[in-house]
Symmetry: C2
Subunit: 251 residues, 2 copies
């Protein structure tokens, strides 16, 4: 017996109806028969075409919706229906939030992964950012200078800044990873900020460090940008040593 035939055996696993539906939809995407902007047939029609019950079909559609692969729009008119989306949505953020809540990844892993992604992002942004990118980054920093911001709004702009740096690399997959991770931990970061005795003091440091990072990106100095962002993220943990708890901000 040749090893090729030996190696072809695989353990049998029960495949659920919704998985079969999703596999067919995925195959149609790969075959180029489904593209962003395309609509699925109505639930009634599609359940007949696939030979599955409507509740089973609806389970598949909910999975696709939760993953951010389709957008389910109300109504039966030309604007209604299940439409394939053209840009990555919130699916990975939803997944990461739950994985973090279940403790699949430690706080240390989150911090180390953020360092990896952020260091890559500033280095690549220093190499690839355009003048428009520089302007956009400075625009966010100007908004962050407003003294009357709440901790929540300050944090939202903080996230926007870091995601915009990643977008300046021109690599939409890596910036998707970063923005998903950042958004998944945002609630915890805001909580941590709000617990700080004087978050405005911390905000001052953050503002100054962001300006330096943008300057390094504008001067196309990748290695300085990396050093700055590493210090920027590690700073908080050096002042308040990392304890592995769930309530640490991971700015």
């Amino acid at each position: 017996m040749s090893s090729a035939s030996q190696s072809s055996w695989e353990p049998v696993r029960k495949v659920r109806t919704y998985e079969q539906v999703m596999a067919q939809i995925e195959q149609r995407m790969l075959d180029g028969l489904l593209a962003p902007g395309d609509r699925l047939p109505s639930e009634r029609e599609l359940s007949q075409l696939l030979g599955v019950s409507r509740p089973s079909l609806r389970e598949s559609l909910r999975v696709l919706e939760a993953l951010g692969i389709v957008d389910v729009r109300p109504g039966r008119g030309p604007d209604g229906g299940t439409v394939f989306v053209g840009r990555p949505g919130g699916g990975f953020t939803i997944l990461l939030k739950m994985q973090l809540a279940l403790g699949h990844f430690s706080d240390t892993d989150v911090l180390r992964t953020r360092l990896m992604l952020e260091e890559w992002a500033v280095a690549d942004a220093a190499r690839n950012a355009t003048v428009e990118d520089h302007k956009a980054l400075r625009g966010i920093l100007d908004q962050m200078d407003a003294m009357e911001l709440t901790a929540r709004d300050f944090n939202r702009l903080d996230t926007e800044f870091h995601v915009r740096v990643a977008e300046s690399t021109g690599n939409s997959l890596a910036s998707y990873l970063m923005s998903s991770l950042r958004t998944a931990i945002q609630r915890r970061m805001i909580d941590a900020y709000e617990r700080l005795a004087d978050w405005q003091e911390t905000a001052k440091t953050v503002r100054a460090e962001h300006r330096e990072i943008v300057r390094a990106i504008e001067e196309r100095d990748a290695s300085r940008a990396v050093d700055l962002v590493r210090r920027h993220i590690n700073d908080f943990y050096e002042v308040e040593p990392f304890t592995g708890g769930t309530s640490r901000p991971t700015r």
Copy 2:
């Protein structure tokens, strides 16, 4: 009017039943009331507790299952039911596959992101890998030396090798990102290998490069390991220039 009250307004968005169910489950995880190994009440009981129909509840459960957050086991006995899992599952791979099929990310982005993750992985593995990690890596390379392997099995071991490198870093989140991406593109990589006139020739180069990478990791030489893995991944694209098609292997 203070800016705090201005900033609290948010656009109203229709929240679906399954999203509300998922939000409650997530909150219970965050409150420490649901942990890996825990079971959800039966569908009948849970739909009553939440005041939702059983089809609606089942939609939420399917989403959690597809994300790899729960494992739905058949039967009503002590082994049956909906159980929260303790390790990250295939959810991100499923998502990435669909996003790639829809063209949310370009092949160039996939290649650049793989380079980022793989370079980080070998550098961190060179710093942190244990003697057990070294042995496991050599064990995979020994299996890859078997001459009678099919392209498919060779590729599977190739993925196993790269994922094992990432696991040697001790950072489970970053290695989850890498293994998910690698698994999402595996089908395409196998197809491309099988189309090569002589994939055994390519396999020889891959084998030799893997040995060199492991040697650099064992010698704790992070910068050499990074250079080697960068060349290892870029090699194919230099021989056959990157065309942006969907059929290129991205070893």
